[in-house]
């Protein structure tokens, strides 16, 4: 818990007396430039070779728009679902002691480790209309595999650890006394959760959401197996990029990539600003 008052306005933070500021800042900038900035600039550069009219034509092409809609839409839904259930999983792992807790705790990380294609194939097998789960859902008229719903499920699988692992340490830090204080003041358990605990967790939940969302937008491996990849229905933007590449249409591929990049960047920037606002307020 920091006790510094919130800083008013923008200020270049004075380096401390401990040496290393120049060196580490220089290293960070050089590293970020090399690893992130130069490749991304190359991307934008490449798509700029298209010229504005062509770029606009590709950007407003119905197939592109649909693919972007599907990518961002499914990623948003999956991240939202993960926020709810990931937070519950994190809560259970921190607060309760039960046999097998460590096994479940370790299992949460599996989507990190598993090659995503394997996950995609496994999910497809399960959710296909002849699969274990798919065959149960089919009589209800629910089709999962080869629909956008399948994409959402794959992205939920991929994104879960991001939410759990960002929220978990914050739940661990919750001071038990704060909950007790709320109880002595007459707050019911529900009031304690909604008014005391949730606002404290919100920044971590937003971070988890952002990570799961970003991962979902870029996910390729697991999705292409379960999605069915029908243009206008279940074709995601990363796949569209790969299709363009296979057609040797590099300019179109980079154009779509650039659009994805801009949308993602703006969304993540907004989320970051939201967070720094809440951090400043609540210290």
């Amino acid at each position: 818990m920091t006790t510094e008052p919130a800083q008013a306005g923008w200020r270049f933070k004075a380096p401390s007396v401990i040496p290393g500021f120049g060196l580490t800042l220089g290293f960070s900038l050089a590293y970020l430039t090399l690893i992130i900035l130069i490749p991304l600039t190359g991307l934008v550069w490449r798509s700029a070779s298209l010229g504005w009219t062509d770029f606009w034509a590709i950007a407003t092409d119905r197939r592109t728009v649909k693919a972007l809609e599907i990518s961002f839409g499914t990623a948003l839904i999956a991240a939202a679902v993960n926020v709810v259930f990931g937070t519950i999983v994190a809560w259970v792992l921190v607060r309760y002691r039960f046999p097998g807790r460590r096994v479940i705790d370790a299992m949460v990380d599996l989507p990190f480790a598993l090659p995503t294609a394997v996950a995609g194939i496994a999910l497809t097998t399960l959710y296909a209309s002849k699969g274990w789960i798919g065959s149960l859902l089919a009589p209800l008229g629910i089709k999962v595999a080869y629909t956008p719903l399948g994409i959402v499920i794959a992205l939920i699988f991929i994104g879960l650890p991001f939410v759990v692992r960002t929220v978990q340490p914050i739940i661990e830090e919750i001071d038990k006394e704060v909950e007790e204080a709320a109880a002595t003041l007459g707050a019911s358990r529900f009031q304690t959760i909604t008014r005391i605990l949730f606002p404290g967790l919100a920044p971590a939940i937003v971070t988890g959401f952002a990570l799961a969302f970003a991962r979902g937008v870029g996910e390729y491996g697991s999705v292409i197996f379960i999605a069915g990849n029908m243009p206008y229905v279940s074709e995601i933007a990363p796949l569209l990029i790969v299709i363009k590449l296979e057609e040797y249409n590099y300019a179109a591929a980079t154009a779509i990539a650039t659009i994805m990049l801009v949308i993602s960047f703006v969304m993540l920037l907004v989320i970051n600003l939201l967070q720094s606002w809440s951090r400043k307020r609540y210290g």
């Binding site: 704060v178 204080a181 003041l185």
Partner: protein, 347 residues
Amino acid sequence: MEVRVANVRKEFDRFPALHDVSLDIKSGELIALLGPSGSGKTTLLRLIAGLEKPTKGAIYFGEEDASHRTIQERNVGFVFQHYALFRHMTVADNVGFGLKVRPGATRPAAAEIRRRASELLDLVQLSGLEKRYPAQLSGGQRQRVALARAMAIEPKVLLLDEPFGALDAQVRRELRRWLREIHDATGHTTVFVTHDQEEALELADRVVVMSQGRIEQVGTADEVYDTPNSPFVYGFIGESSSLPVKVEDGQLWVADRPIGLSVPDAPNGKAELYFRPHDVELLEECNGCIAGTVVASRRVAGTRRVELEIGGERQRVEIELPIEHPAAQKSRVAFRPRRWKVFLAEG
């Protein structure tokens, strides 16, 4: 509100933290639970609050058995050592929280809650800080917010768990005086836990001295200081020195000589003599006294503390001498305790 703790026992995983404790707290009283860590004082406080359930026994608020009431229903104000403020809420929202979470029918209007909050912040001398967040306050200010928050629900009992434990000495003394003033002004029945005897003796109407899950003595500051009823209380409250002695025919003996103190009713046997180092009479002639050789001497504020080795067994005791006393290393000093108490050896 009167609080009665009746034969309460509390175990954590079969390990007893409190053994059969009983205590009567009068309405409007300011009571200190004093003891070393592990004595069960915080456990007792948490049991009264309802934050723990007794393994056995009951706790009465007035005539009513509160043991099976939930924390929410007990209506106690609890102040934690580390404040436990809600850090995403302003000071005013923290103070008003207890009123805001009341069910619809009994909840005051928003404007009334604000008014109550600023009234309480006035009382704790923090008016003007309503809009601040806890992270922007000093430790002393935070603890005062915590107290205002606890008082906002008009509690039947105010319970404070080492309320000044995390603060520095200066702020601590200030808040101590100020808590007494608030208590006198509001008249809440108040119980606070402390391991600081100075705090307990200075602040409380009555002090409950606890050790190893038991209440050793309950009394006013004078009572527990002047007439401690157990070796533990003698040793824990104030300075004390002790010396193994022998009772023979109503006389106290150290090694092979009587020391001029008589205990007419005590049976013969081994015992321990307790006295205050400053409450001794220095003697020129040793005609029934305790005499020893000075082995160490140090200056303590306005007096001198010397350590004496007594008799062949070289038992060490500490006494206080006036500064001008000529006692030097190896010199012999004879004295007799003015006020003292003998506790017979167990078994």
